[in-house]
Amino acid sequence: MTRRLPTNFVIGGVLVALVVGTAALSLVWTPHNSTQMAISNKFAAPSSTYWLGTDQLGRDVVSQLMAGARNSMSVALIAVLMGGSIGVALGLMASAIGGWVEDGVMRLADLGFAFPALLFAIMLAAVFGPSLGNAVLAIAFINIPVFARVTRGAANQIWTLDYVSAARAAGMNRFAISRDHILPNIGAVIIVQATIEFAVAILAEAALSYLGLGAQPPAASWGRLLSEAQTLMYLAPQLAIYPGLCIVVAVLGFGLLGDGLRDMSEPRLRRER
């Protein structure tokens, strides 16, 4: 029987492909240089040269949005990879060792939940000055407890299975079991979580850059483009629309994709969510 792919997976996949494709394309090509200014050409209307027109400094909007996609994707990728790998490692360790180590890791994770990314970014900005790097660090940091919890929960289930007991009886050490048996078996759970956290990271980066704690001018970031557009709301309201739409498409895409992946990996839970 061929099973139909879940709708959310399909829609999410298409949106993600669109965003990731755009980001990849911007590495090699954008219609114009996204940072090149031409004051004489400011607020140009959409045309065949400037598909969505230009901004207050005469920069091409499409090129900026494409560069913004690249920025969003790289920030999300780095932050989720960093936070995710630390979190997964902690979760695996907690699960493998158990006892007070497990308790300790989980209490630390609880502590992490007290700090939303914004608070962490605020502290870093106050100490080191605002920068995109600090924003990435802050987003990576909040990912650690999320992944630690998910990993430990999933790993604990695998540890109870027969073949893991067999491996233990065969004298394999806990580290090797975690690497060879546990990790491959919880991969699906981690990938689902990573996809969802990708969406969260995109939102967080946009908010931090909007507030001036992330990407600094002239770097293009959807959030930063919006903060510039806000001062021009009476002059050029259209500039406040496009970057927001991009954020929604990207976040929606990764969110739906994550939900869809989860539905596919846990068909039991599919019915009533």
Binding site: P116, L124, L211, P243, I247, L252, G255
Partner: protein, 314 residues
């Protein structure tokens, strides 16, 4: 019961202490020399020495931490470097603004989310259900600050019904409320998207249970069954999410204040970042994190109030 509350209270206090250690460490150890951070590279050695003396930086770290916590417990958060008044005074002046926004946002969130979530569950698999699910999926993806901008664009720039931002104080209550309408909506819409989904699935879970059938067999209207029987039983997961949402409520409030130029704690924290006002930032971050931790503690206690079965076990 008593033991349960005792254990949770101890856990709560320990978490608060741990949070304070993290905040203190990030703000005092990471920068190396806070005085240098505050005054900048080109400060004179005399000025630096004076500031170190004033901030007590010459004491050992542990002493500084204990002093900070001890003073904070008595409502003394030190002196703001940029405003040159006690940080506590700054906070008190702006607290009302922030609390009003957060409370209004929370109330509207609860009304929206419970209404939509229960409504969707009642309409399960029909048009209303799909509508709510679609809107909430969208709501989760929309950044609060962009929604704010769209609201301003529509209601302030185009229709001119409401002010685009700013706050003239409480002396004219009507104007104050008008300034708070858009921020409240922006805060609530995004929050309620998540909560409406949780409410819906929790309600669907409860509706499968036998006692709902009993209630209907007693001739109660669907509406009464939903609100008086289903909703209370769905409250445990709902309250859990509300507790977890306090983190995003705090974040949302800070962001929204900056979008609408509302003079609250969220604005203050950003002014303090620009001014390199470390004591103020430190106090505010600690305050916000404490609110998040406290909210989760209160949720733990609420479970027992909601569900009499837990009371027996706890």
């Amino acid at each position: 019961m008593g033991y349960f509350i005792f254990r949770r209270t101890v856990g709560f206090i320990l978490t608060l202490l741990a949070v304070s250690v993290v905040v203190f460490a990030v703000m005092n150890v990471l920068p190396g020399d806070p005085a240098l951070t505050i005054l900048g590279m080109d400060a004179t050695e005399d000025a630096l020495a004076a500031l170190r003396e004033q901030l007590g930086l010459n004491e050992p770290l542990l002493t500084r931490y204990v002093n900070w916590v001890w003073n904070a417990l008595q409502g003394d958060f030190g002196i703001s470097h940029s405003f040159r008044v006690p940080v506590a005074d700054l906070i008190v002046e702006r607290l009302l603004m922030t609390v009003s926004l957060a409370v209004a946002g929370m109330v509207v969130t609860l009304i929206l989310a419970l209404g939509l979530g229960i409504g969707a569950a009642a309409q399960h698999r029909k048009f209303g259900d799909w509508g709510v699910m679609f809107l909430s999926q969208l709501g989760i993806a929309v950044p609060a600050f962009w929604l704010s901008m769209l609201l301003v664009l529509l209601f302030a720039v185009n229709l001119r019904w409401l002010p685009p931002g700013g706050f003239a104080g409480w002396s004219d209550p009507m104007a104050a409320i008008r300034s708070l309408i858009l921020p409240t909506i922006a805060l609530a819409v995004v929050q309620s998207a998540v909560l409406a989904r949780v409410t819906r699935s929790a309600a669907l879970e409860v509706m499968r249970q036998d006692f709902v059938r009993t209630a209907r067999a007693s001739g109660l209207s669907r509406r009464r069954v939903l609100w008086r029987h289903v909703l209370p039983n769905a409250m445990v997961p709902i309250v859990t999410i509300v507790g977890m949402q306090f983190a995003s409520l705090v974040t949302g409030t800070i962001v929204i204040e900056n979008v609408f130029y509302l003079p609250g704690l969220g604005r203050l924290i950003f002014q303090s970042i620009s001014n390199r006002d470390l004591p103020t930032v430190q106090a505010l971050v600690m305050l916000f994190a404490a609110i998040v931790v406290t909210a989760n503690f209160v949720v733990d206690l609420l479970y027992v109030v909601i569900d009499p079965r837990l009371k027996a076990r706890a």
